[in-house]
Subunit: 421 residues, 2 copies
């Protein structure tokens, strides 16, 4: 059978728009990979009455209710009490959790422990308890009538970690099938084209399934197989991945990776090559994304944010004449920046990015969204010219995408020019 789930976010800060409901997003991704259908998300404030009403609605439309938030020690954290009442459970003191809380405060002497903190150790009788590796509030789960009720803490780091490490294994036991899923990442082909090429498969196959997710400027496909055993399920995904790769070609940049930069980092590390960057319109974003990744220091030696013409000249040795004749936003400037960075930072490869991020065209009337991206390598230099939208954030992000894509293509021996796909 297939279970359905509802995620209830509890917290006035969500209703005030203080934070986005990223907990629901992470949990939804995980449930979807387990083959559990999520039909509703609900958010309520720190208000027992409205939470109780939301629970009554959820009970009638979901097999699994997962709440996030409201497990803290302050007066407005009421999830446990309200759920215990709604499902007819008593709250009892859980001594191991109380001891964990005492020990947390012993290790963090700057923090002040109050009696309220022990309310976090009061848990519904007979529930399964999940330790919190990042905070003091434990999570818990119980079965009431025919509904599985799971309570997780609200802070995203605590919630995500507990969900991945404790709840996913628990939910897997509910399913009589093993589920295995892999993600395929694509850059350089839009979602409509990806869907069109894969349509025959996506609309007819039920196991494995193939579902597309649009990411900013790229596409992710998830292949999910169900079988009796994990090994079987895993094996079933293989032919689908091969078929997707051969159908879409070299726009497929990675399996089970999170980003283009992760693929680039892996390739650089495998090949023992180093990278640097010269950035104008992206203003540090390319370097920032590279160094978001732990381990980047092994392959990324640094970058130069040449946000002014003086910086392009003095730090990257871009000739004044080139800037005067071709302008700072030109294929020639991008190439000169890339080779300048390669020399200044003494790396195997270097990326140069220059463009107009807006909101206004540059002094030569180059339109907003025009970006040149160059790659310098021992064997030669390449440059791409693109025109991408008019939103500053989008332009900068896509420009960095293209920089990483050029490095990836170079390192895997692919054509470096950009085809329209």
């Amino acid at each position: 059978m297939s279970y359905t789930a509802e995620i209830i976010g509890v917290g006035t800060e969500l209703l005030l728009g203080n934070i986005a409901n990223t907990d629901a997003q992470v949990i939804s991704q995980g449930l979807s990979a387990l083959g559990i259908n999520v039909y509703y998300h609900t958010v309520v404030g720190d208000n027992p009455e409205r939470l109780k009403k939301a629970l009554n609605i959820a009970k009638n439309r979901a097999d699994i209710i997962i709440t996030t938030g409201g497990l803290g020690p302050t007066y407005d954290d009421l999830t446990k009490q309200t759920l215990a009442e709604a499902f007819g459970k008593k709250l009892v003191m859980h001594e191991p959790s109380a001891e964990r809380i005492r020990s947390y405060f012993r290790q963090n002497p700057n923090r002040v422990m109050t009696e309220n903190n022990f309310r976090q150790a009061m848990l519904p009788e007979g529930c399964a308890i999940f330790d919190n590796d990042w905070g003091t509030a434990p999570g818990c789960a119980f079965l009431a009538e025919e509904t599985y009720v799971i309570m997780l803490p609200g802070p995203p780091r605590e919630c995500t970690s507990m969900f991945q490490h404790c709840i996913v294994p628990f939910l897997k036991t509910l399913s009589d099938a093993a589920i295995f899923s892999r993600s395929i990442r694509i850059f350089g082909m839009g979602e409509p084209m990806v869907e069109q090429k894969l349509q025959a498969f996506m609309t007819t196959m039920e196991n494995p399934t193939l579902a597309p997710y649009a990411k900013e400027g790229e596409v992710m496909l998830r292949v999910t197989a169900k079988a009796q055993t994990m090994a079987e399920a895993r094996e079933m995904t293989g032919p689908v991945i091969d078929w997707v790769k051969s159908t879409l070609g070299d726009v497929v940049y990675g399996l089970d990776v999170d980003s283009l930069e992760e693929t680039v980092l892996q390739l650089l590390a495998q090949q023992g090559k180093t990278l640097s960057a010269a950035e104008s319109c992206t203003g540090g974003l390319f370097s920032k994304r590279m160094t978001d990744l732990p381990g980047a220091s092994k392959v990324f030696k640094g970058g130069i944010v040449s946000y002014s013409n003086e910086a392009k000249k003095s730090l990257l040795s871009v000739p004044s004449q080139l800037l005067a004749e071709k302008g700072a936003v030109s294929a020639e400037a991008a190439l000169s920046m890339a080779s300048g960075a390669r020399k200044a930072l003494d790396t195997d490869l270097a990326v140069g990015i220059t463009g107009v991020a807006g909101p206004e065209p540059d002094e030569r009337n180059t339109p907003v969204g025009r970006v040149y991206i160059a790659l310098a390598a021992p064997e030669g230099e390449w440059v791409r010219s693109i025109q991408i939208g008019r939103d500053r954030r989008w332009i900068r992000n896509l420009a960095a995408h293209h920089g990483f894509d050029m490095v990836r293509r170079y390192l895997t021996g692919l054509d470096l020019s950009l085809e329209e796909k």
Copy 2:
């Protein structure tokens, strides 16, 4: 009277965890500033039956229903049809919207117009129609019985823009009071301390209200006043802001700004000063945040991401001996990086950031989370040493916060050292 609202997000991509529900966040912020209470968020998939059920629940608990998503031309975009049915309205062709769609495709000849696109111009009879500046799907609103129903497109840029420019003015007309709200931004004092200092006011005052919002590493306070006229409401916020400023002191860095970097950009522009950066552990994040802002090129000349010791030596002239004796993560290295950037980029001010972002301590066993931030200026140099958590993203973000805070403090003549608050 005070209205209550429910936000219904429509889209299977939300339930799959493909995207977070940021539309609900932005709309909630706006409603909260208008004094409209948001009691529930709901998310449903592209499923007419479940959307209809969600609408029936929402009708009974909200005066205003705002839907996001499901206005596109593809088969799974069913919001308009379902809402029209649920509220007994007919869909009719809106000719000006049809013409806008035709004109959009004339201007974007790469895109293919299909008959489906015209479904976007079918709108509930007698509704108010909101043009979409960023896409083809218009938004709309109608009053049904006693419920205000508002439909917005799902893509965040389209939704946010339409909400701010069309819906906020519309909702203001519902209120017989004028509402004026301002935000106060704070860096350098935690939320518990801010709340403790302002508690007397926050718990007793009803108009204006003062509400805290925790941001990553900082705090935002919103002061909201209601009065007969906007001028009156605005005037009422003045004394509260003055009181907050005098109570909290110089940790208040701005009014109605979005970030420390925005304040820094304004101050630099006012004073005609230029800035550059030398970044190690932040790897370009400081420069990236500065250049996120339009107009940064007037004051920010560039940065050097010195992610290797070679780069620190060759591009920033950090002495080899200093690196050998004190290490790359040291107050001395941060100071040398800042003055190196100031010279290399020829700016009035420069920030230098070096630290251990993790996941591992550095080769000298400097712990994860130790960061040194230096400022170089014509009058001298300053350095802060901080120890901040163990999460890579958090460490990098806080380190950049501190860099901006030092620039702000320098430019406003404040003490540059960091007190524990």
